[in-house]
Structures are given as C-alpha cells and as structure tokens.
C-alpha cells in the first residue's frame, strides 16, 4: 500500500514538542519530547509506533489525533490543518472521524456499556445512536453486558466496550494507545484479534502505539521512536520517516 498514491489522512511535517520541565535550580528547563517528526499515513493503512517508555510514543499519538498541539511543525488530520484550529475545531474534526482505544480504557464510570458506546454517536447527532451502539456491542461479543457499568466488567470486557465505542461511529482513523497494556496475554490477544477484525471490516486507518514488537508486526508499517526521533523500521511501502 502506498501512501503517496492515496491522500494521506494523517500528516506531520517537522513536528516538535517541547515542554517546560523542572530546572536545576536556575529556573525552568526546556525538554524536547519530539524532534522534527515527519510522517504520512495513508487511508486504510495500519501503522505501528514502537519504542521504550518515555520515548514520546503517546505524545506523538496525541499530536496526530489533535488532542494536543505541537510546539512547531505542521499537522493535518483527515484533510484538516490542525494548526489553524482551536480545541473546539480539533474536537469537531475528531467527531465522527476518529476513534480511540486507550490502555486504561477511559470509560465513564457512571454510564452503562450501552451508554458509553452511544455517547460519541449522540455527540455527533446520530439519530439511531442507541441501535448502532447496541449493534457494536453485539459485534464485540457483549450482547449480555449492555446494562453493565464499567466496574461490573472485567478488564478485557471493558476494552471490548472501548473497541465498540471506537468502531460504532465507523471512524476513518483509529488511534490505539497500548490497547493491551492493562490486560493479561490471553485477553490481550483476543482484544487485538478483535481490533484487527473490526479494522479490516471497516477499512479503518489504524495508528497503533505499542511496545510489543509482535503486535507491531501485524501492521503495514512500523516506526520506532527513540529520544523523540522517529524512524521507519521496515519499509515496503512509500511512507516516509526521517530521523
């Protein structure tokens, strides 16, 4: 699959992220989390970003998804320039186009599984949100857990609710941040199988952050990030990455 031939749905050009950290007594100290990252992801691609803890994987994912804004560089998501948008504008870009799966599930405790899945659909004003949410939960095998609250579900079940929430709106892009990080191996494998099955079914672009090389290997392209610098590990596609 070549991202040059298709319109990129995610594009980062010379993106850096610098934060102010604790100083050594002489005041605050600038800390570079990401250093001039270039990345293009084509529609339908599955891209894995791997790297050790603290390398900047999640920061990059946050920037690509429009959850945070870069210090320098240019970002595009689904054809929209994120640099020119405020938080509300970026939220509008995400709404209906972007799905998320987090390591810690990030479900809302007070809502049932059905309500959690229906929430993003309702945010986008989808009329049959509840029906679609129900169908999404059935698709992840949780037909008998619709009225359960997160605390009444196992970790694997909670991540499946998160998957249902992510795919219920048939997003163009799915961002997954260590989706198996809080699960045991067997449950993690089940969740990943489900994630890829859903991704294949909906032809969703996938950006996956993981520290697991085996999981990364299931993606079309793999990038490694170290000390804030990104480089492509295997390149049988036209995606570009510079260090």
């Amino acid at each position: 699959m070549s991202s040059e031939k298709l319109n990129p749905v995610v594009r980062a050009a010379q993106v850096s992220k610098v934060v102010t950290g604790p100083g050594d007594g002489d005041g605050a100290k600038a800390l570079t989390i990401l250093h001039e990252v270039d990345l293009e992801i084509a529609c339908g691609e599955a891209v894995a970003i791997i790297g050790p803890s603290g390398a900047g994987k999640s920061t990059l994912l946050s920037l690509l998804a429009g959850l945070d804004h870069p210090s320098t560089g240019h970002l595009e998501l689904a054809g929209f320039s994120l640099n020119e948008l405020d938080e509300d504008g970026r939220a509008a870009v995400r709404a209906g186009r972007v799905g998320f799966v987090f390591q810690s599930f990030q479900l809302i405790d007070g809502l049932t599984a059905l309500e959690n899945v229906a929430l993003p659909l309702e945010l986008n004003g989808i009329a049959d949100a509840e029906r679609r949410a129900r169908a999404a939960l059935v698709a992840v095998g949780l037909a008998d857990r619709l009225a359960h609250r997160p605390r009444q579900l196992s970790g694997g079940e909670q991540q499946r609710v998160a998957l249902a929430r992510a795919f219920a709106g048939t997003p163009e892009i799915l961002f997954a941040d260590e989706p198996t990080g809080a699960l045991d191996t067997a449950t993690g494998e089940q969740v990943i199988d489900l994630l890829f099955a859903l991704r294949d079914r909906h032809a969703t672009t996938l950006v996956l952050v993981t520290h697991d090389p085996a999981l990364a290997a299931r993606c079309d392209r793999q990038y490694e990030i170290r000390a804030g610098r990104l480089r492509e590990l295997a390149s049988d596609t036209a995606g570009t990455a510079t260090a």
Binding site: S62, L67, D68, E87, D109, Q158
Partner: protein, 842 residues
C-alpha cells in the same frame, strides 16, 4: 555453598522505602504517616482537606473567641443590672454576712431602700429612697446631670447631698442647688439622677428615686426596727474566682437567703440575654456544620485518590490494621497541623472584627481566653475523626490486586457508618459550641431530618432522571447526577445544607431579629398606673382618651394569699428560694373576659370556670390543670380548680397576672385597677397633669428599664449579625472547597468527552443542565428546610411566633440559580482549559 534464600524471607527491594519495616512486622507507622502527609501536602493532594479544616478551625475559633468575648462583655454589662456580680437581698441588715464575704476576699458594698416622703416648700412627694455605701456601684456607673451637663460617676452622692430623679424634681418644681427635707435631715440637691445601674425590681419602685449616702441614714431617723426596709449586699469578685467564692459564701448563708446573679436578676433582661446567647450559639453552630459538610466531601475525594497508595502498601505486605493506623495517624497529624494556622487566623480575624465592631457593640470586650483555642483543636480532631475517618476507614480494605487492575477499589464506606459517626460528631461539635442540650437536639433533629429528606429526594431525582430520554452530552449532564447515587446525593445534600445555613443566616435570621425587636415596639407602654379605684376607672379612661394617651386596658387587682392546694394547707417551709418568696407574697388575682395576644394557652382551655395560671409559676409550684387552689380573698377562702395554663410574654409591658379567675369567683372581692400606657418623652408635663387630676394614682416609669433592654437587644443583634456575617463568609469558602473535591473526576470525564469529539459548548451545555437541576433542587430543599428550621427555632427556642415565609422559596431558588451562575462558568473554565491529554494522564 551459598544458601538460596527462601521466597518467604527474601528481602524486598531497598528502593521501596517502607517495605523493610513492614516486612519485619514492626511497621514504622509514624514515619510512613508523616512522610505521606508531607508528600501529599507538597503535591497538593491534601490542600483541599487542609484548607477545609483550617477554614473550619478558623471559623469556629474566630466565632468561639468572639462569642466568648462578647459573652463575657455582655455578662460584664449584665452585672450593671445588679451593680455587682452578685447580690443578697434581705429584710434585715446583712452586717454578719458582709463580714463573712470580706473575709473570703469578696469585695462588698451595701445599699438599703424604702419608700418615704420628701418635703420641699411644704409639698410632700412619695419617693423611693436609696442609701448607698462607699464603693457603690461595684459594677457599672451612675449618670447624673448638673446644669444640663451629664456626668458618669462610679460612686454615690456625698454625705449631706441628695440626687433626685428628674421626675421628682419636675413634680416638686426643684433644681440642683435647692434643698429638701428627708426625715429629720435637710439635704442639698446636688444633681438630677439620670441613671443608676441597679434599678431593681421596677414594680417595687413605686415612686421616683432619691439617692443619699448610707452614712446619712441615722441622721434621718427614718430607719427603725419596725421600718419596711430592704437591705442589699452587693458582691464582686474576679471572674476566675467568682464561682468558687460565691459558692463558699452561699454555703454559709441561712436557707432563706440566696445570691442573686446578673443572669437572673431581671426577667426582661434575662429574656434578652438568653436570646442573645442562643443566637450566638446558633451562629457558631452553623460554622461547625458547614465545616463538617466540607470535610465529608474532601475526605471522600482523598479516599478515592489514596486507594492506589493503600493497594501498594497492601501489596508490599502491610496488614489492614497497619493501613488503618497509618491513615488514622495521618489524620491526627493533619488535625494538629491545621489547628495552628486555624487558631491563628481565628485569633487575628476576631481581633480585627472586634476592633471593627467595637463602637457598634458598645460592650467593653475583655481579652480572649485560651478555651476557644483548645476547642479549636478538639473540633479539628472530632471533625476529622467524625467526618473524615469513616470515609477513609475502608482504605484498609483496598484489594492489593488494585496494583494490577485499577478498576478494583475498596468497598465504599457503609452509609450507616458515614452518617452515624458524622451525626454523632456533629452532635458533639454542636454541643461544644452551643453548650445547650435543647438547641443541640433541635438543630441535630432538624438537620438529621433535613438530611434524610435531602437524600431521599436526591435519590428520587436520580431514579426520575433515568426516565428522561435526553440525548447526547445533555443526557450526560443528567446521568452524571444520577450515577453513584450516594455520592450525588451527598453532594446535593451538602450543598443544600450549606444553602440552608446561608438562608437561615441571611433571611430567617433577619425575620427572627425583627420579630425579636418587635417584641418591645417603640410605642410599648412605658408607664404602669396602680391604685386606681373602681370609681376612677371611667374618669381616668376619659382623661386618657382626651389626652390621646392609649392605654392597655384596665384590670382589677384583687389581693389574695394562697392558702391551700387540693384542700391541703400549704407549708411555707416546704419551699425554698424564689418559690418560698412567691408563696409568702400576696398574689394579685385578676379577671378578664378575653386574653390578649401576649397570653397563650398551653394547657387546659380558656375561658374556664376555674383559675388560669401562668406557666412559670405553675412549674415553680408544680401546679397542673385540675389541681384545686384556695386563695384567701378579703378574709374568705375562694377555691377553684386550675382550668388552664398560660404562657405569658412579659416583654409586652402590658398588665399581666400569674393567676386569673372568672369574674364570678372574684366579683365580691374589693379591687383596685391597674393599667399601662405609653407617654412619649419628654413626658413630665403629662405626668404632672395626670397626677394632679388623679392624686391617689401611683405611676411606675418603665422608660429607663425599657431603654436598657432595647439597648441590649440592639447591641446583641449587632453582635449576632456580625457573627453571622463571618459564618456566612466561612460557609461560602467551605462550599467552594467542597467543589474542589469533585474537580479531578470532572477533569477526566471532560477529557474523555473532548477526545470523543465534544465541543466546549456541548460540555458547557451539560454543565448548565446538571447544575441548573442541582441549583433548583438545592434551592427548593434549602428553602423548605430553612423555613421549617426557622419556624421551629422561632417557636420553640425564641418564643416568637413561628411562620413559614413563602418568599424563602424565591430566595432559595434565586440562591440556587446564583450558585449555578457562579459555579458553572468557573468550573467550565477549569475543566475545559486543561488539555485532554494532560487530564487523561493526570
């Protein structure tokens, strides 16, 4: 060969600083608790709780210090009503007792008083003569006037001179510098006596006052063994030794004598003083309760945050008991830590505000004692143990597996434990503040009932919200309310409690104070007239009507002596103190076809064929409806049953009687009439005209005592309002602190919504919906609760008519919505400002 360590004894990694001590079974609980406390204070985790606690301690100690000082100031002023800290009254000289008192170290002064006649230019005038010893007054001051210049003095007249009441000067046509004859001695009038501290029983002061030095009494030749003289021994002692010294003196007194204290020396003053104390107690109590509500919420937040640390310690091998001890000790340290700044702020606040209110209070405030500081520490401990510990006690049950799965949590604290211990702590705190079991019981009962109703209604709302088919983020707003019903209900109940307190302070307080003030209206009767003969009633009524003087009606007074109860003769020896004095005295029986508003039947029925007795005297003599009372009237026994018991508002300044009887029972008894009326100042010409038209009339001028009581009420009202303003401010700070507790959860949830694509406007819409519902509910609940509590307080505690003010609903709703208007933009700005990523990571 190196032995392989057994897995059971393998040491934990050195990096886990708390591990070794736990593993050895001798956990360094103190160090762990202190380290945690320090770390959490640095990280800000305990800031909300500490701030809530400091605010609580500061509010309570500031109120405590101030009310303590106001209380002491008022008591000092109250002593003016006796001109002493204590007084012994007797019909005989008290020389022996005076000697005993001085031997004990009590400062004394003595006075005597009796009615006599003063002669000026051959005009006689009945006066109430009072002779005072050097040292008089022991407390308070006298005000005299020479050549229209008022002077405040702390001593009586010089020998050979007399101070005459302005009324006496006016009636005799005299002025300072003239002379009068009292008994066998001529006195020079030195000044007009404007004010004396110990007015005494106003009704016994049948005539205007004349005051001379005690050393002049022998020269007058007026006091003989047969004279009807009342002797008064005035006592004073430093506050710290007063109670002990008076108790020792009392033990030496014959049974017939007692030490009169300022608190119960004047019925009208006593009522005012009691009410002032109750209002101040109420203000202090509200501060305590607001603090409790804030701590409850702050502790719940701390409990949620601490579960990771508790799980980690359990995973390291700490026992449940160890975890429990660590958190209990940390709370103890927090209590000590918060008390220091809390008390300091309390001291500074009360000093600043006392200075600010100094002129308005017009009470000399003594320096604060240390008791409120100790109470502050006690309150911090009780509040933490009562409100925070129950929320934290389940931390010890945090499953160690939580270190792997954060969804696992400690079971929530049992509601019964949370509320039971909280209510017990509340009771203790309220009692510590109010020192009044009745007030504590009423407030706790009211709050307990309110809390149950609040929780019940909040729960009902939670269920009802599920029926609403609202979509999107708007639904999220309502669902947020509905989830975790206990937490939601507690938050609503806490807010409603806070607003109830504020409404109680802001609105009901005004109503109560207004009602209190109106108990003695500005045109309340200020003169009593007695010795009105039956054939003078119509003429006097006509005279008053012609002069535009409104009177309170004419009541017959039939003198009678109580002789038997239920056909058994009474024995005076069976009674002591005030009961004995009342039993010895002649009763003034009266009759009236209708009861005025200052009389309320509390038992039996009105009108009846028997006696209607006043509640206080019925309690003194243990009289009940149905008891047969016999009075000797004009030499003949008159027996009837008690058919009703009345509560009398003595503040009304209208003629009122301990015993009323039907006209038929008293028809043949000789009677004189009594009335009361209002004469606006200056009223000497009207008095003179009245006495010239009706020379046999005796007038009692109540103007002075009325002014004193009104002055006290005004000052007490100011003090109460001041304390309420402070409590109000403390309440608002505590409410804001309580909201901080839910901020972290809101930040996370808002972040999720943002990640899912929610716009700021959608999040704000959800917040507006959620808080509008909260505001309306809280406003309604607090209006109803404060109205009900206010009515009960007015009725039961302040003897004021209890009524529900419907405008409270408007105030409640407005306050609830104002809360929404303030909180939503503030909360909205805080929760939407943070980046979603930061919030999710945090």
């Amino acid at each position: 060969m190196t032995p392989i360590p057994s897995p059971k004894t393998r040491p934990l990694p050195a990096s886990l600083s708390i591990a070794p001590s736990i593993a050895k079974g001798r956990p360094a609980i103190g160090r762990i608790a202190a380290q945690g406390l320090w770390r959490e204070l640095q990280s800000g985790l305990l800031t909300t709780m500490l701030a809530a606690l400091i605010v609580a301690v500061a509010a309570v100690t500031a109120v405590g210090f101030f009310t303590d000082r106001v209380d002491a100031g008022m008591r000092a002023q109250a002593a003016e009503f006796l001109a002493a800290d204590g007084r012994i009254d007797a019909p005989d000289p008290l020389n022996t007792i005076q000697h005993q008192a001085e031997t004990l170290g009590i400062t004394t002064a003595d006075t005597l008083a009796f009615p006599t006649v003063v002669l000026a230019n051959d005009h006689p005038l009945l006066i109430s003569l009072k002779a005072v010893s050097p040292g008089y007054p022991l407390r308070g001051t006298l005000t005299i006037q020479r050549e229209n210049v008022p002077e405040t003095l702390a001593h009586g007249p010089a020998p050979g001179t007399v101070w005459l009441a302005p009324r006496a000067l006016a009636l005799l046509g005299l002025k300072p510098g003239d002379s009068v004859q009292i008994g066998q001695k001529k006195f020079r009038i030195d000044a007009a006596l404007e004010r004396e501290p110990d007015v005494g029983n106003v009704l016994a002061q049948a005539a205007p006052r004349a005051m001379i030095a005690l050393s002049d009494i022998p020269a007058t030749g007026l006091v003989t063994p047969a004279s009807r003289v009342s002797y008064h021994l005035l006592l004073a002692a430093p506050p710290a030794q007063r109670a002990g010294l008076f108790a020792r003196l009392k033990s030496k007194l014959p049974k017939s004598l007692t030490i009169e204290r300022p608190e119960n020396s004047q019925p009208a003053f006593k009522t005012a003083f009691d009410r002032a104390a109750r209002f101040l107690g109420l203000a202090a109590m509200v501060a305590v309760l607001l603090a409790g509500a804030a701590l409850l919420l702050a502790a719940r937040h701390y409990n949620e945050v601490q579960q990771d640390a508790a799980a980690l310690m359990r995973a390291f091998g700490a026992s449940r008991r160890t975890i429990g001890k660590i958190y209990a000790l940390r709370l103890l340290m927090l209590a000590l830590l918060s008390t220091i700044p809390g008390v300091l702020i309390g001291v500074l606040t009360q000093q600043g505000l006392a200075a600010l209110m100094h002129s308005a209070l017009a009470v000399a405030l003594p320096p604060p004692g240390w008791t409120p500081a100790l109470i502050g520490l006690g309150i911090a401990l009780i509040a933490l143990l009562g409100f925070a510990l129950p929320a934290l006690v389940r931390l010890q049950d945090t499953p160690p597996l939580r270190v792997l799965n954060r969804q696992l949590a400690a079971p929530p604290p049992a509601a019964a434990l949370l509320f039971g211990v909280g209510l017990a702590a509340m009771g203790l705190l309220v009692w510590l503040q109010a020192r009044d079991a009745t007030l504590t019981a009423y407030v706790l009962g009211g709050l307990g009932a309110s809390l149950l109703i609040f929780l019940g209604l909040a729960w009902g709302l939670v269920r009802a919200l599920r029926l609403f088919k609202v979509r999107g983020v708007a639904r999220f707003g309502l669902v947020r309310l509905a989830r975790e019903p206990l937490a939601g209900s507690i938050q609503i109940a806490a807010l409603a409690l806070g607003l109830t307190a504020l409404l109680l302070l802001g609105v009901v307080r005004g109503d109560l104070l207004d009602a209190w003030r109106s108990q003695i209206p500005t045109d309340a009767p200020n003169f009593f007239a007695i010795n009105i003969q039956p054939d003078q009633v119509d003429a006097l009524r006509g005279f008053m009507n012609a002069q535009g003087i409104h009177n309170a009606g004419f009541y017959p007074m039939v003198r009678a002596r109580w002789t038997a109860e239920n056909q058994k003769p009474i024995h005076l020896d069976a009674y002591t103190g005030q009961a004995k004095r009342m039993a010895e005295r002649e009763f003034n029986l009266s009759t009236t076809p209708t009861l005025t508003a200052d009389n309320r039947i509390v038992a039996g029925h009105w009108p009846g064929v028997g006696w209607s007795v006043e509640q206080g005297i019925a309690k003194t003599f243990d009289w009940h409806v149905g008891d047969q009372l016999t009075f000797l009237v004009n030499g003949s026994p008159v027996t009837a049953a008690i058919t009703s018991i009345r509560k009398v508002n003595w503040d009304s300044m209208r003629p009122n009687f301990f015993v009323l009887g039907p006209k038929a029972l008293l028809a043949r008894a000789p009677a004189q009439y009594v009335t009361s009326f209002y004469l606006p100042e200056p009223n000497v010409p009207q008095q003179t005209a009245l006495l010239r038209a009706f020379p046999t009339l005796t007038l009692f001028d109540l103007g002075r005592i009325l002014a004193e009581v009104r002055g006290l009420i005004d000052r007490a009202s100011q003090a109460v309002q001041y304390v309420f303003i402070f409590t109000l401010a403390a309440g608002l700070i505590v409410l804001i602190a309580a909201f901080h507790a839910s901020e972290a959860a809101r930040l996370r949830e808002t972040a999720i919504l943002r990640v899912l694509g929610a716009r700021r406007s959608q999040i704000m819409r959800a917040l507006w919906l959620e808080f509008s519902v909260i505001g309306i509910l809280v406003g309604l609940l607090s209006a109803l609760a404060s109205g009900a509590l206010g009515a009960v307080l007015a009725w039961k505690l302040f003897d004021l008519p209890g009524r529900f003010d419907p405008t409270l609903l408007g105030y409640g709703l407005a306050a609830g919505l104002l809360l929404t208007l303030i909180l939503v933009p503030w909360l909205g700005a805080r929760i939407t400002r943070a980046s979603p990523v930061t919030a999710l990571r945090g």
